[in-house]
C-alpha cells in the first residue's frame, strides 16, 4: 500500500509579533517546495485565509497583547492538534512585553494625549479596535502549547529542522547552532 500520506494541514498567524518569524519561514527557500509535498496551508498570512479550519499544526508568532490576540489564539488551539509557539515574542512575550513594567493607562496617555504624539487627543474607543490587555503574555500563559521554536527569529534551518522532525514523527530537537534565544 504505497499511497502517499495525506498532506498535513498547517495554519500560521502572527499575534503581537513583527512577522519576522514568518519571513524566516520563507527563508527556507527552495526547501519550501519539498515541504509543500507534505503540508498544505490553511489560515495564514501566506494564503490570506482569514479563519482557521481543522488543522494538524498551528504555528503562532507573537505574544498576546490584546483581546483579538486571545480570540485568534483560542481559535488556533481549538482547531489545531499541535500548537507551536515560534519566536521570542510567542515564547517570552518578547519586545512587546517590555511594556509590562508600565501602567497601561500611562502608555495610552503617553501615546494619544501627550506630546510628542497627539497632544490633547482622545484614546481611541472604536469597538472595531481590540482592547489591549494590561500585560503582554507569552502564548503558553493563555493556552496549552505543544512545541516551542525559540529565536528572534529562529533561523530558517531551525524551522526546517522542526518540520522535518515533526513530519518524521520525531520530537523536535535543536542542536547547538540551531537553538538561539536572540
Amino acid at each position: 500500500m504505497a499511497t502517499p500520506a495525506p498532506r498535513l494541514k498547517v495554519a500560521t498567524t502572527s499575534l503581537a509579533g513583527c512577522f519576522g518569524c514568518h519571513m524566516s519561514f520563507l527563508d527556507i527557500d527552495e526547501r519550501l517546495f519539498e515541504l509543500l509535498e507534505h503540508i498544505e496551508f490553511d489560515r495564514s498570512p501566506l494564503t490570506d485565509i482569514k479563519t482557521c479550519g481543522a488543522c494538524d499544526i498551528g504555528i503562532v508568532e507573537g505574544g498576546v497583547c490584546n483581546a483579538e490576540n486571545v480570540h485568534v489564539l483560542r481559535e488556533f488551539r481549538s482547531q489545531c492538534r499541535i500548537l507551536v509557539a515560534i519566536g521570542a515574542c510567542a515564547i517570552t512575550g518578547g519586545l512587546p512585553a517590555q511594556r509590562n513594567h508600565l501602567d497601561l493607562a500611562d502608555c495610552l496617555r503617553e501615546v494619544y494625549q501627550t506630546d510628542p504624539g497627539t497632544p490633547g487627543g482622545r484614546i481611541p474607543n472604536d469597538p472595531e479596535l481590540p482592547l489591549p490587555l494590561d500585560k503582554v503574555h507569552p502564548i503558553h500563559e493563555v493556552v496549552r502549547v505543544d512545541y516551542f521554536i525559540p529565536g528572534c527569529p529562529p533561523s530558517a534551518d531551525t524551522i526546517w529542522k522542526f518540520f522535518t522532525d515533526v513530519l518524521a514523527g520525531r520530537t523536535p530537537t535543536y542542536p547547538h547552532g540551531l537553538i538561539h534565544y536572540d
Binding site: 518578547g94 513594567h101 503558553h140 528572534c152 534565544y181
Partner: protein, 246 residues
C-alpha cells in the same frame, strides 16, 4: 600512597586533589557539569543548584560537595538534566531575560546552559518583575532585570576588590542586589570598570560602557561552541585581575 585519589563520574575515573569539590575536580579533568553561580576563581557558593548531581545516590550540589575517594557520581542522566532544565526555566521565568536586545547574548552563561539543556521555553508563568536599570555610573551599566542572584559580583567585590560594592537584601522572591551607597546609585559607590566585580557577571547585569558589540553577535563564545565543550575554561584557578574577556 603514590596514586592520587579518584571518584567515578558517569563511570569515568576523575582524579582529585585534597580539598577539591566534585565540580572543581571534574572541570579540571575537562569534564563538564552544568553550573551557573560557580566561577573558577571563587570559592563555590551552591545557590543556583544547576550543578546538582547524585553522589553515592544522594542529590547534592557538585560545586560544594567535597570529592571523596571511591565516590560514585551520576551527572549526565536524564533525571538530572530534567531537574537542571526546570531550574534554568525557573530563572528565565523569574527575571526579565530578553535575549534579542541583550548586549551579553552569546556571552551569557544562563543562555548557554539553556541551549545545552534544550530549554525552549520558561514553561512557567513569567513573573515580569519590575526591576531598575542603573545607568548612573560613567563606566558601568547595571541592569537588574537579568540578575540571577548568583552573588558573584558580591563575592568579587568583597574578596578581590575589597570594596563591598554589591550586596543582597530582601528575602525569598523579594531578594535583590543592592549597591553600597546611601543613594542606592552605582555612581555613588567605589565601583570602577577595572574591578573584578565588573567582569564576573555570568549574565548581562554588569556591563562595561563603551565596549558593547566589540565581538559581533554570532561570533561569541557560546555562539561558536556549546558551553559543555568548554569545561576546561572553568577549571579552578587563582583570582586574576583585569583578565581580558573572550
Amino acid at each position: 600512597m603514590s596514586t592520587s585519589p579518584t571518584f567515578t563520574l558517569d563511570g569515568r575515573e576523575i582524579p582529585f586533589e585534597a580539598g577539591q569539590t566534585v565540580l572543581q575536580a571534574a572541570l579540571t579533568a575537562d569534564v563538564y557539569i552544568p553550573h551557573l553561580c560557580y566561577h573558577p576563581e571563587f570559592k563555590p557558593h551552591g545557590s543556583c543548584k544547576v550543578c546538582t548531581i547524585k553522589a553515592d545516590g544522594r542529590h547534592v550540589s557538585a560545586c560544594t560537595w567535597p570529592a571523596r575517594h571511591g565516590m560514585v557520581v551520576e551527572n549526565a542522566t536524564e533525571e538530572l538534566d530534567d531537574l537542571r532544565r526546570t531550574l534554568v526555566q525557573m530563572l528565565f521565568a523569574e527575571g526579565n531575560h530578553f535575549c534579542p536586545s541583550c548586549e551579553y547574548s552569546g556571552h551569557c552563561l544562563l543562555q548557554a546552559v539553556g541551549y545545552d539543556l534544550q530549554v525552549e521555553t520558561a514553561g512557567f508563568r513569567h513573573f515580569f518583575p519590575v526591576r531598575p536599570v542603573d545607568a548612573s555610573h560613567p563606566e558601568v551599566w547595571l541592569d537588574l532585570n537579568r540578575c540571577i542572584l548568583c552573588e558573584l559580583c558580591v563575592r568579587a567585590s568583597d574578596e578581590v576588590d575589597g570594596k563591598h560594592v554589591f550586596g543582597l537584601s530582601g528575602r525569598g522572591a523579594g531578594k535583590h542586589l543592592i549597591v553600597n551607597a546611601l543613594s542606592g546609585r552605582l555612581a555613588d559607590t567605589d565601583m570602577a570598570a577595572t574591578d573584578k566585580a565588573a567582569e564576573v557577571c555570568p549574565v548581562g547585569v554588569i556591563l562595561k560602557k563603551k565596549a558593547g558589540f566589540r565581538v559581533p553577535i554570532g561570533e561569541r563564545p557560546f555562539d561558536r561552541e556549546p558551553v559543555s565543550a568548554q569545561a576546561a575554561r572553568y577549571a579552578p584557578r587563582p583570582p586574576a585581575r583585569h583578565r581580558e574577556e573572550d
